[in-house]
Amino acid sequence: MQLRIETAGVDSLLLRFSDRVEPELISSIGTACNLLESALDDLIVDLVPSYTTLLVVYDLNRVTEQEIRSQVLSVLQPEQILSSEKLVVGKTVVLPVCYEPSLAPDMEPLQKALGLTREEIIQLHTGRTYQVYAVGFSPGFGYLGELDQRLQLPRHATPRTRVPAGSVAIAEANTAVYPQETPGGWWLIGSAPLPVFDKTKVDPCLFVVGDRVKFEAISLSEYQRLEALR
């Protein structure tokens, strides 16, 4: 792994780990995030991991750029990240999803667009474990990948003005769960009865960068039962 450090502003560094997106890389970035957080907690203001990079916002009242660069490098020696056994990164979250037509407004047009049956789409969507490559767009919105080639298609040309919270969606190489009701241009194929972002919790996100997510199909009655528990 080849780490490049770029200046991203008066108090920010952008750590670039690679020019390519890879599942192993994102776990390493998650590990790097944890290593920096525990080693340089009093100097770091914010850490934003995403795909191939990690933005480090530091307190310029406590440290110069030169100093933080050398500290970051000493914490992130490649051997330390790659063989980091003390910091096991990433949990696997199994998320129940109901793919019933009433909760999946794009399922029918999607079947036509992809030339697949509903069962095939569900099977392909639940058939893999996804990496969380980034969390952004809105609080708790995770970019999960990579989607099976057969499910990949561009987002809607005109986004919906309101996508209900909990909607499970796909677009391009990604799948996601909408944490809040927001506008959105992805194809809606189901709904998850568990909140992926809960601001009342210490760990508000069900999953963060470096975690993995697997979807599990549930029936409408199971969905309703879980929804009632919320």
Partner: protein, 308 residues
């Protein structure tokens, strides 16, 4: 707790503080007072610590009634200020008695006025901050802009807390309509911009577009193009200058999304990004490069001044 009652909320008045830090990896933006210069002055005049929650009044047209006596300070955009129909000056403290009404008229110069109270507004922080981010429903009063009848709770203060009114020295009060040069620290994808694009960016003026808000300021002028179109989404620093395919710069401000996929030519010096947020649509701005070391020194002095 009683405090200031909202009679007229204005078009977009928000509780803000210095922002929400340490939660961007959850996709939670920082928020925070857009013009930290004016906001920090308001708290400083009242001998508050810099992190106290205050009111950011976008464009003015606000009316509040004091439910108990309280010292306040108003800074930022030049709005006509009246207490019980009597005109008062900005950039200084005022004492409100129980029942007094304070109004801020429409802003004549600048975009955002700040109204602080002695001790700060007492609201429950979310993720460590009271900053309102309407898009995320976080902070302030239920994550929303001020509305009629809202109560802004604050401590009671007595008139002899200060011997006399305090004001900001005249030379420290900015003229928001003066020509503005924004200093830029090179970085991010700068190597993907040709020499010609860089020289265009630094030598021609840009105009603030109407579609500018707390997330970002959109500028209009000579197009700048990167040799790459998209990048994998990455973290966006405060003041980062994104160049989308149309070549028109977008300056990312306090409510920016935490990730973005456009190339960036550099990042504004934060105090210049604060200043930009006071610029009205149509205002002309120019860019000027500054070294990182110089930029850090300026910011250290700024923070030091406001922590003294």
């Amino acid at each position: 707790m009683s405090g200031l009652r909202v009679i007229k909320p204005g078009p977009f008045s928000l509780i803000q503080d210095l922002g929400r830090f340490g939660y961007q990896h959850y996709g939670v933006t920082t928020g925070g007072a857009l013009d930290e210069h004016a906001a920090r002055w308001a708290n400083r005049l009242l001998e508050n610590t810099a992190d106290k929650a205050l009111l950011e009044v976008t464009l003015g047209n606000l009316e509040l009634q004091a439910e108990h006596s309280v010292w306040i300070a108003i800074t930022g955009a030049d709005c006509p200020i009246q207490i019980n129909n009597e005109s008062c000056a900005g950039w200084q403290t005022h004492f409100l008695e129980k029942g007094d009404r304070i109004t801020l008229g429409w802003a004549r110069n600048g975009q955002r006025a700040y109204l602080a109270v002695k001790g700060g507004f007492s609201l429950r922080p979310e993720f460590g901050s009271c900053s309102t981010v309407v898009r995320e429903g976080l902070g302030g009063i239920e994550g929303k802009a001020l509305a009629v009848e809202d109560l802004l709770p604050c401590q009671n203060s007595c008139s002899d807390d200060f011997i006399c009114n305090r004001g900001v020295p005249y030379r420290s009060i900015p003229d928001y309509s003066a020509p503005t040069t924004l200093r830029v620290i090179s970085g991010y994808q700068i190597d993907n911009f040709s020499q010609q694009s860089r020289s265009t960016f630094y030598s021609t003026p840009y105009k603030v577009k109407v579609e500018s808000d707390r997330m970002g300021y959109r500028l209009e002028g000579a197009g700048v193009s990167a040799e790459i179109t998209g990048i994998f989404s990455e973290g966006i620093a405060f003041g980062a200058i994104q160049i989308p395919p149309d070549g028109q710069p977008i300056i990312m401000l306090k409510d920016r999304q935490t990730l973005g996929g456009y190339p960036k030519i550099g990042t504004l010096l934060p105090i210049d990004a604060f200043r930009l947020s006071q610029c009205r649509p149509g205002t002309e701005v120019c860019f000027e490069p500054i070294s990182l070391a110089e930029g850090q020194e300026i910011m250290r002095q700024f923070y030091q001044f406001f922590s003294a």
